[in-house]
Subunit: 194 residues, 2 copies
Amino acid sequence: MNGVHEIAPRSGVAFPLAAGETLTVIDPMGMQVADLVAYNADDRREVISNGRTFDYEETIRLSKGHRLWSNRSRIMLEIIDDTVGRHDFLLTPCSTDTFRIFYPDKPVHRGCFGNLAEALEPFGIGPDAIPTAFNLFMNVPVREDGALSVDPPISRAGDMVVLEARMDCIIGLTACSAYASNGGSFKPIHYRID
Amino acid sequence: MNGVHEIAPRSGVAFPLAAGETLTVIDPMGMQVADLVAYNADDRREVISNGRTFDYEETIRLSKGHRLWSNRSRIMLEIIDDTVGRHDFLLTPCSTDTFRIFYPDKPVHRGCFGNLAEALEPFGIGPDAIPTAFNLFMNVPVREDGALSVDPPISRAGDMVVLEARMDCIIGLTACSAYASNGGSFKPIHYRID
């Protein structure tokens, strides 16, 4: 497909996304999570915020029509299409700590956190500035008593989310590296900028 | 009561809390929220993280026995007592933007965000570094479809939460300024360090 980039399994990228451009994130094989973070390109201390987003959108289930807000209470991205409707904005990118805590028998991987840190470094963004990510296709049910689980994504091959930038952004995006998040196997993520 | 400090209605404070010390936060009149943030006293880029906490504690309903984690995946505070069991870690401190968006007919107040920013400034912590707070006594039910509401706290006069520091911290703490969070009236918050 024209203009489509591939993020290899268990890796990540970062790139500018100008105001008015759209970012299409595609799950090409199904059941694969992509962690997304966003920074104001002109002042990278302004960053996507789950707390501001939950507050202003009045829901933790974000889909078409919802906006993703910054820590400065400004709209960074708007979800203009979504063929899945099940994403997560509660959990942080997986990291070496995640692997040590949740997968003590598996090899430790730097995870989405390490992948984002490397990809964002050329943009002057350090690891402490990586917030809770908007985790596309991630399926985290919340029980009535508040308990969370990480279930396999419900996304199928070709499912996608389209986000329109409402300010000039730097985007970080991964093909997630954690077992539970991706139904036990690691697949690529595709994306396109229009 | 000996050693008890009062936070006046709609204001905030910041103070050091050494590893091993306990912070007791009391709702003296009932139905009053206190927003809490925490930083590593030795490196203030390390900060309390709702995403890491939800991930490692596997719940959004934090109470006695749960730990509050930092963005570097370390335990900052542990909840060692809690007479209420209903708090929020989803929503950001109320701010001028919150008042403009949710209370267009009411006077704009700088809110917990402005109060925290002023209180934290002497510790070298700027407003962009204020994360989603742990909102003691705040009652934010999550419906099955993900929709959030801000209901009156269920805390009654004298209810309290006791947190033990697991590292040297700088704490920011408020008596919350938003109408819905506090059942429509603004009351003080008491705290004690032992």
